[in-house]
């Protein structure tokens, strides 16, 4: 076998190794039910779960627990996944500022002791075209009116 052939073999082996490493590191889009099963069977792999926040009549999210004065690094909330299963999620970081408005939330993490421990929260915000009102045309209120 020529040296160059050997080299090609080594390169192919490296490429295959890279593909295997990607596939084994890749996470999956999952649901809370599957995440619970995984945790029960001792599988520590982290999964992505897509869901939404439960909201009250005024569209405000309910069940958010964040009190920076007690602990700035503890944020807990409830999320409902795509199969309508709701689950308490703990995120050991400050509450993401854009969470309240997000249409959709993706969390990355795993179930641990009955709660979903999230490492990352990715939020998807409503399209920027929706909320902007076109005419900021009204006359400005006088200072006196608003100071009252």
């Amino acid at each position: 076998m020529k040296k160059s052939h050997l080299f090609v073999l080594v390169v192919i082996a490296a490429a295959v190794g890279i593909i295997i490493s990607t596939m084994s590191d890749a996470s999956t889009y999952s649901t809370f039910a599957i995440a619970r099963q995984q945790a029960a069977s001792g599988n520590l792999a982290k999964v992505h779960v897509v869901g939404t926040l439960p909201r009250d009549a005024d569209k405000r999210p309910v069940g958010l627990e964040y009190d920076p004065m007690v602990n700035p690094n503890y944020f807990a909330f409830t999320m409902i996944d795509t199969l309508q299963v709701s689950q308490r999620v703990v995120y050991r970081n400050p509450k993401p500022q854009d969470l309240d408005k997000s249409e959709q939330v993706v969390i990355v993490g795993a179930m641990k002791d009955g709660v979903f421990e999230a490492d990352q929260i990715l939020t998807k915000c409503p399209s920027k075209y929706v909320e902007k009102d076109l005419g900021k045309t009204g006359p400005p209120a006088t200072a006196m009116n608003t100071r009252r």
Binding site: A15, S21, D25, A26, P72
Partner: protein
């Protein structure tokens, strides 16, 4: 409403498209069936003319689009959605390429410039190379064409009117000629000087990858299989420098502006440019090997084609919407996926087919490479670059697999790795190690004087690298850090790269040979590796709470807490620093420093405020009480004072948070304190939302006489006097108005005193009250009622919880090595570009000859 400019722009787009197609066909005909440099004169004239027309049309498009933004023509969707009245001119330039259409236009513009450059510098190659250029241009212009053919929409025009884009708005029924008064503004994160120069640099880099590709295609087509490398090489080196620096500019912008804690996040959009850059650098090495040592031509061809295909793939990834939520850099999906796939497929299939057809005819070197030949190490190094790129491609494409499998009806739920940093580091770190080693070995062997043996040449740098590594490891231990085996290896490889390249430069300098661009850029790469190792591997979070005051909810938190809460004006202890948050500030144009929000009243116009007291900076008083001033309301700066506990060094940082509706709320940007050997990087993790009304407690009335003292929680207030107010902030006093203000002094923490002047105003029997808010103390005082008979004054006092921030601060050691290394890398590539241009064939044969002699001696 100005429809002319849009029509002009749209007509220019169409003209640019048609002219590009004509130029492509003309150049094709000019070159067809004729030898290189003997193009058909009449076709050539036609094609050249068409290309000039194309260039002029592109300039016209650019001018029209810029005019729409500059003149605030909000009847156009592009201006409305990317700009606003308050935007400074330099950021109007950023608006230009914030949208997809504008960034395509930027790319098209650079291709025109490069095409003209080739006409000037590479006359012989003009016809076949520009045929490829013009074809690419036709595809690119089609992306912004915005023409509907049958039921298919081709491209998305930047000149679309707002009423044609948002057809459903009720306002059009009332007034079809409605023009909004203001635009929605440029995303405030992009209002940064790097965003003015980073995109043009990056797109110039993108555009430069077309040059070697076009040359390679021209060479394959005209069967001039070897001579293309020489003219294409300087362009390729320039491309490597520009693209590399462009990527790092983006990294620097992210470091300064985004709050993920560093300069690189393995975001798909970052990866999409990193991949072609790696392959471009590998291709450059292949081309240099052929040019200097007559070896590796097939490698050069394959990698040049691969680079361009990867640029097209990157375009597809970032602009087709296939990444979906996987990326934070969301380019809006313009429905161009189909067009992008055709573009990608056309050049990929065409180039690969042509390369395959000519493959057998591409000359192969008969040289047998040994471990003593630098060519071998260059070749292996290029392979490592490609494998590193391969890993990033395979992982970044995960969303593509899902889409593709979904398209053919298989449900796939693969997601990006949960810990991307760990995933990429696992391969990229070792790629870095190998690059450090191979670049060093190859440089030493390449420049080795004939009389020196390999061992001799390598001995000194190797010894030095080993010694320095040992020293650094010991020092790291001494400072209480541990160093894992991979890190030690990377350190050794990086230092080896530095020593060997430095020794190569030094050797050349001693022999008075021209400075080698290659050695300089490899030195830069080695320094970058060391900078990445230090700043990312040893990034140290200093915002851990060490005061012990905080009781954690879960005790098994294992020191995972990376953020501290700081009350206003209370000093908190962090890892090695005393930190105090002292208030909120705003940027006032024309003033050298930020202005404390306590010194101003906000008005209903967000961009205007009224001075509550003298605003003085340095010795100069900028505004007097009652003056109105312009402010920039988007960013709130949080003033944080740091004191290094070890040496008492003090500095002040202003991390900022901006109201950013597009990004879903409040967005924090870091502030940096730079030292020569480290940066302190800190950002706000959370603050009470500045957009929300402050939740004041119900006002409690207190009836006081002049001279009374009032106790408020921990503070006390003295009501000193009642006096006539001559100026009322935000209100112009008129004849007959009665304005009274109370003079109060409130003593807060540490004896700090605050003056408060709540105002009571009578006009036409109507009462107005201007309360005084003392943010530091969380107090609002209103002069509610005056009883002139009894001489009693009723104050309504409400309180709120004190202001606080949650802060994260990190130390980034030796990050300057990364930036410095980047500059050296770019400089080296530019140097080598100039040398390649200067180098004549004699130099080539001389170098080859010298190396040949050297090798023979080494073998003997």
């Amino acid at each position: 409403m100005n429809l002319l400019i849009g029509n002009l722009g749209q007509a220019s787009v169409i003209l640019a498209f048609v002219a590009a197609a004509v130029a492509a066909y003309g150049y094709f005909q000019a070159a067809r069936g004729r030898a290189l440099g003997e193009a058909d004169a009449s076709w050539l004239r036609l094609a050249r003319g068409a290309f000039f027309v194309h260039g002029a049309a592109v300039l016209a498009v650019v001018a029209c689009l810029f005019n729409i933004i500059y003149a605030h023509r909000y009847e156009y969707y592009y201006a409305w959605s990317h700009s606003s009245n308050h935007l400074p001119v330099q950021y109007m330039i950023s608006c230009f390429w914030e949208g997809q259409e504008g960034s395509f236009l930027l790319w098209i513009f650079w291709h025109v410039v490069l095409g003209l450059g080739i006409m000037k510098f590479n006359k012989q190659w003009e016809a076949p190379v520009l045929a490829v250029f013009a074809a690419v241009q036709a595809f690119l212009v089609s992306m912004i064409l915005g023409v509907v053919v049958g039921s298919v929409k081709i491209g998305s025009s930047p000149f679309i009117l707002l009423r044609d884009f948002m057809v459903d708005l009720p306002v059009w029924k009332l007034n079809p000629n409605f023009v909004p008064k203001d635009g929605t503004g440029l995303n405030a994160l992009l209002q940064n000087y790097w965003m003015v120069i980073h995109p043009p640099t990056l797109f110039l880099g993108f555009a430069l990858t077309l040059v070697p590709f076009a040359f390679a295609i021209a060479a394959l087509w005209k069967k001039e299989l070897t001579s293309w490398v020489k003219p294409a090489l300087p362009w390729t080196a320039l491309g490597g420098a520009v693209l590399g620096i462009g990527i790092m500019m983006g990294a620097y912008w992210a470091y300064e502006t985004l709050n993920f804690g560093g300069y690189w996040n393995w975001d798909p959009v970052e990866n999409a440019v990193y991949i072609p850059w790696l392959v471009l650098i590998a291709a450059l090495h292949g081309m240099v090997l052929w040019q200097r040592r007559r070896i590796g031509l097939r490698t050069a061809y394959s990698l040049v084609v691969a680079t361009f295909v990867l640029i097209l793939y990157a375009t597809f990834l970032t602009r087709s919407g296939v990444l979906g939520s996987a990326s934070v850099h969301s380019f809006t999906d313009l429905g161009l996926s189909g067009q992008l796939i055709i573009y990608l497929a056309f050049f990929t299939v065409g180039a690969i087919a042509l390369l395959a057809a000519r493959w057998k005819n591409i000359p192969v070197s008969e040289k047998e490479l040994t471990a003593y030949s630098p060519e071998l190490w260059v070749f292996v190094g290029a392979t490592v670059l490609c494998l590193a790129a391969f890993q990033v491609v395979v992982t970044t494409s995960i969303p593509v697999y899902n889409s593709f499998l979904g398209f053919i009806g298989i449900k796939s739920n693969l997601a990006l790795p949960a810990d991307q940093i760990q995933h990429y580091t696992r391969i990229q770190l070792w790629a870095g190690v190998l690059i450090g080693l191979f670049s060093g070995i190859a440089q030493i062997l390449w420049w080795r004087p004939a009389k020196e043996t390999v061992l001799n040449a390598l001995a000194t740098p190797t010894m030095l690298a080993l010694l320095t590594t040992a020293l650094v490891v010991l020092l790291t231990r001494y400072f209480g850090h541990t160093m894992s085996a991979p890190y030690v290896t990377l350190l050794l490889a990086g230092l080896f790269g530095v020593m060997t390249n430095f020794s190569a430069i030094f050797g050349l300098w001693r022999r008075k040979v021209q400075l080698s661009g290659g050695a300089v850029s490899h030195l830069g790469i080695a320094l970058m590796l060391l900078g990445i190792l230090a700043s990312s591997g040893y990034s140290n979070i200093i915002s851990r709470n060490t005061s012990g005051k905080l009781i954690s909810r879960d005790m098994d938190d294992k020191g995972n807490e990376e953020n501290v809460l700081l009350w206003r004006n209370e000093t908190g202890a962090m890892n090695g620093y005393d930190v105090t948050y002292t208030g909120q500030y705003l940027d006032v144009p024309g003033l050298p420093e930020y202005v404390n929000t306590q010194l101003i009243y906000r008005t209903d116009d967000e961009y205007k405020a009224v001075a509550r007291a003298e605003i003085k900076q340095g010795d100069k008083t900028y505004y007097h009480t009652g003056d109105s001033l312009n402010i920039l309301p988007e960013n709130t700066y949080y003033r944080v004072e740091y004191t290094d506990k070890k040496n008492g060094q003090k500095f002040t940082l202003y991390p900022r948070a901006q109201v950013n509706e597009e990004m879903g709320g409040l967005l924090a940007s870091p502030a940096l304190q730079r030292f020569w050997d480290h940066d302190i990087y800190s950002h706000i993790s959370s603050v009470p939302d500045p957009r929300k009304e402050i939740p004041w407690s119900t006002a409690v009335p207190h009836e006081l006489s002049v001279g009374d003292t009032l106790f408020l929680n921990d503070y006390f207030a003295v009501f000193r006097a009642i006096e006539q107010a001559h100026e009322v902030p935000g209100i112009k006093l008129e004849q007959g108005d009665i304005a009274l203000q109370a003079d109060m002094i409130i003593t807060g923490e540490k004896g700090r005193q605050y003056h408060a002047h709540p105002i009571f105003l009578l006009r036409d029997r109507q009462v107005g009250r201007v309360p005084e808010i003392i943010e530091d103390l969380g107090l609002k005082l209103t002069l509610d009622q005056i009883d002139p008979v009894k001489g009693k004054f009723t104050f309504a006092i409400s309180t709120t919880s004190k202001d606080y921030i949650i802060l994260k601060a990190t130390e980034k050691p030796f990050i300057n090595l990364l930036w410095g290394g980047t500059l050296l890398m770019g400089l080296g590539l530019v140097l080598s570009m100039r040398q390649r241009k200067a180098a004549k064939a004699t130099a080539v044969s001389a170098a080859a000859g010298r190396a040949g002699v050297a090798r023979q001696q080494a073998i003997a």
